[in-house]
């Protein structure tokens, strides 16, 4: 790791000023889980780290976790462990609680934050390999295309085939979250607009400008009889990245599903909202057969690479399972 200056501003304004003063050569640090890894691996060598954990009382919103009107707000510095254990995340928001509890390890969840989780860089082994120059690092091609692509995207890929690494992103997208960003001025976005597709810009995964800080996420007031759920399939059940994730939200009244959201994770460069699956389910009574049909619809557009076609049946099976659990339809034996 290269030497760097560590700054501990008390206000977001100060943090933003520091970042804007060295737009290419500074990094914001919250939990530091991914950032410090990248620095140790020699992928990045920022001259200045701007620590957000020392922000003062004036920025209490960064640590807020609780009601926001009739919805819920989550500060960017709230840890995954806090989310995983938060009572306010009842049945309506269960997807977020389950996602937070599923990520990484207890140690990491105690340090990792909402903001850091949403804004982390991809885990692609070409991006992470210090000796290789991939598309994201200024190279001319995504090396996964000709290389080992078992863990890569089957939906929305190209020219980069990374999968988005954030577990919270998948659940927050299903829950119609918004994110509040503060730079020289504040702006609020639907979370889907936080993510950048490789077709828009292959070198980045989020839309924040230098000096902008993600302040909090807001979950809207839950719909009537809203329920949600999240699950992931991993090769290893302790400390692994998902092969696929599914988050589902719906209002379930008299067995009929409305306002359905279906989002898949780790199958695409962004959290992948499946409008096809949503359309298949919307306004219909929950049933095993319908779930199978929706899962098929969700993956209909999949375009696998050489080694990742297995993600199609895997994501279908996972989505079916989550739909069964959320809608309370017993899983077949």
């Amino acid at each position: 790791m290269q030497p760097f200056v560590l700054s501990r501003p008390k206000t977001l304004a100060e943090a933003g000023d520091l970042a804007r003063a060295q737009p290419q050569d500074s990094a914001l640090r919250a939990g530091g889980i991914d950032l410090i890894d990248r620095m140790k691996e020699g992928l990045e060598a920022p001259a200045r780290l701007i620590e957000l954990r020392w922000l003062g009382e004036s920025e209490a919103v960064m640590r807020a976790l609780g009601p926001d009107g009739e919805g819920l707000q989550i500060g960017a510095l709230v840890t995954l462990a806090q989310l995983a254990g938060h009572e306010g995340l009842g049945e309506a928001y269960a997807a977020l609680r389950q996602a937070a509890g599923s990520a990484a390890t207890p140690t990491i969840r105690n340090a990792a934050t909402l903001g850091g989780n949403l804004l982390q860089r991809p885990r692609c082994w070409y991006f992470r390999h210090a000796d290789l120059v991939c598309l994201k690092k200024g190279g001319s091609a995504c090396l996964a295309v000709s290389g080992e692509n078992k863990y890569h995207a089957i939906l929305g890929g190209g020219p980069s085939f990374i999968v988005h690494p954030s577990t919270l992103a998948c659940a927050l997208t299903a829950l119609d979250a918004q994110v509040v960003i503060r730079g020289t001025e504040a702006r609020t976005l639907p979370i889907a607009e936080l993510f950048v597709t490789p077709k828009q810009d292959a070198k980045r995964e989020h839309a924040l400008q230098p000096g902008e800080v993600l302040v909090r996420a807001i979950l809207p007031k839950p719909g009537a009889e809203q329920r949600s759920g999240y699950a992931a399939v991993k090769e290893k059940q302790s400390h692994d990245w998902p092969l696929a994730e599914a988050a589902v939200k719906m209002s379930l009244q008299s067995g009929v599903m409305t306002d359905v959201r279906v989002v898949l994770g780790h199958v695409a460069p962004i959290p992948w909202r499946s409008r096809e699956a949503e359309a298949a389910l919307e306004g219909k009574p929950a049933s095993e057969a319908l779930f199978a049909e929706a899962a098929k619809a969700a993956l209909a557009e999949a375009r696998p690479l050489r080694d990742n076609a297995y993600k199609i049946p895997l994501a279908q099976g996972l989505l079916r399972e989550v739909l069964h659990r959320v809608a309370g339809v017993p899983l077949p034996e």
């Binding site: 790791m1 290269q2 030497p3 885990r123 082994w125 070409y126 390999h129 000796d131 290789l132 090396l143 000709s146 290389g147 080992e148 078992k150 863990y151 399939v233 991993k234 090769e235 290893k236 059940q237 302790s238 400390h239 692994d240 990245w241 092969l243 993956l299 209909a300 999949a302 375009r303 696998p304 690479l305 050489r306 080694d307 990742n308 076609a309 297995y310 199609i312 049946p313 895997l314 279908q316 099976g317 996972l318 079916r320 399972e321 899983l331 077949p332 034996e333």
Partner: protein, 780 residues
Amino acid sequence: MPDGRKVTLKVGFAEQLRDIEVQLPAGEPKPWDARSELQVIGKPHPRLEAPLKVSGAAKYTHDIVPPNALWAAVLRSPHACAVVEAIDVAPAKGLPGVSAVLALVKPGERVIFAGQDIAAVAAKTPEQADAALRAIAVTYKPEAFVVDTAAAMQDGAPLVHRGKVQERSTEGDEPGAGGSAGQRGNIRTSPSMKKGDAHKGLRMAKVSHEATYTTQVHTHSALETHSIVVQWDGPKQATVWCSTQGIFSVRDEFAEVFELGPADVRVHTDFLGGGFGAKFGASAPGSRMGFIAGELARQAGAPVRLLLDRKEEHLCTGNRPDSRQHVKLGAGPNGQLTAIHVVAHGTAGIGTGAGVGRNAFGIYSRCPNILVESHDVFTHGGPGTAMRAPGHPQGAFALELALDELAKKLKLDPIDLRLQHDEHPVRRHQFELGRKQFGWDEGRKQAAVLRDKNARVRRGFGVAASIWGDFGRGKAVVATVSVARDGSVEVKNGLQDIGGGITTVVAQVVAEVLQRPVEAVRVRLGDSELGPSVGSGGSVTTASVTPAVRAAAEAVKEQLTALAAKQLDRKPEEVTWSGGQARAGSKSIAWAELCKKIEGEAVVATGTRPETYGAYPVKFMGGNSYQIAGVQFAEVRVDTWTGVVAVERVLAIHDCGKVMNPLTCRSQVQGGVILGTSYALTEQRVMDRVRGVMLNPNLESYKIAGARDVPRAIDVVFTPVDTGANNTGAIGIGEPSTIPTAAAIACAVHDALGVAVRDLPLTPDRVLAALGVVPTRGAS
């Protein structure tokens, strides 16, 4: 001590015990056998060093920091194959903190795997060392390479070696394995194992099975990476701390490299954070660590610490080779095997040793026709080396899964098929024992019901066998036991505790003989000046060391008996020992009192271990050592929607001769099962076939089983055997305990699904493919 005498030993196992006559070499105590009533041996005793380990007080090589020690770092080739056109280390020399710089290749030299040594530096801090490496200018001319085993076998594939290959073998290799029967292209043929006529046996078969099974490259991934610390004590004298399984192998290599006498090199390994076969000699299999650290220290005039990082550990310190095994089995109408034929190819990268062990040849020995042909395939990858039971887990996987596929065609129960062909009475006993204890018959029925219903979540039951030899070494160990005037007891030997618990076992042996509390025995090891010993490889440590320790302790006891006789005014043969007191008639003398009478400082004796002299009831591969038996059962749960395999239970039934310490022995078996589970489910080195580099040289995407991945329950059962092999009855367990795990799990998955997953690891993609639900590319 009487000279060479004949004794009667009660040997055998379970109900099958018998008396045999054994000729003991001179000075050898009568072996502990099935009649021996032992007080300490065979009883659970916690590790003596546990408090040091859990409190962090134990010093591993990574913790050794001699005064003014420098940090060493190695520049490694980023290319799978390239010719070095130019190398300039001069720019590194003047950088802050840098004390020594070393070019490890010359212009014109060809480097043949990504990770190979290029240059090295020693500096005050790791950051300064890294900066110095970056300043070194190397120009490479990249050449064609091949990292994929199948591709390397093709005609016209880039050649890895341009001459005949020298085999590198260590104490981690199985005795009798290795050798060459020719080399062509990248393929080097190993000597075949042959019995009868397998081709004829296949032609005679009424039912046959033929399939190809593959296993992956598995890296050792010891928690403590390869590390060496060198301090020159004079121009021709050095002290070396090394994370090693064999301190004498470090001493000898270091002495040879620097042209020193072995006695001028002192090697320390107080504690060792795992080795699994990759830590022999001063160097790692793919990096000249001993030379690098020694030469940097000499140039810098200061001690040097060379501690590899996790990436280097994956790239250049050895691995378990992969395998591609084409298995053909033939059987008669009643299921009697007519032939076993295995053709195996595997890559140990630029190294050798990709054979697939003795499973196919040695276990189901009632099959009259067996042919096992193995080949090393050279690829541009880091060298393989011995890894816990070299070859055997791969061999077990292919053979046992093929047997299950054959059993299915024959409509035979897998255990019945195995019992029909296994001649080892202990292993037969283990199969029967496990069948009952594991709930095999009922479990298989339930699995069939779920399979027939096409259930989403299936269960499956599998079994596989282990074969290994008692390779305990004679005349290799000299142990010293002393009893001082203050009554203290010490045992010394230049061995290293790889983590199996030998420290505690050695103390138990001395405690048993001298009737002292285990805690009262001070054990000194991990230092080459403490007397000759063996490397911890081949599952030989306990079997080689404990008999020598016992011989030394018995010799000390004999001297103490003579002293007691003198004090009690009796003849030595009238003296008996009980409760730590010497008695003769109505008189006795307590330990402390007796020790005060010692003339001089202490009573000291050394002991050695003769060659193995007993191998009851079955010999290994026609040699003179016992064939170690083991059987493991696995129950899995498979989610057919996601392809995820979970191992619910493993029952490991093993024969370990006379178990010295059930606690540490059980721990070794659990470790073997966990390693095997991890190998079965997730571990896999991934090479980029286009760029020739390893893509997962870390512990994130190189996936080692965590707490949720290990079996929910691991039940360990020992079937004690008195083999008459040596005076303590100890034989090995480290390697046998990992051999059948992956095979049993794969067989259980076959039971669950009704189709075999013929490739390790058993990841969801493979399971879903076996179920036929993965679309071919573009078909979606």
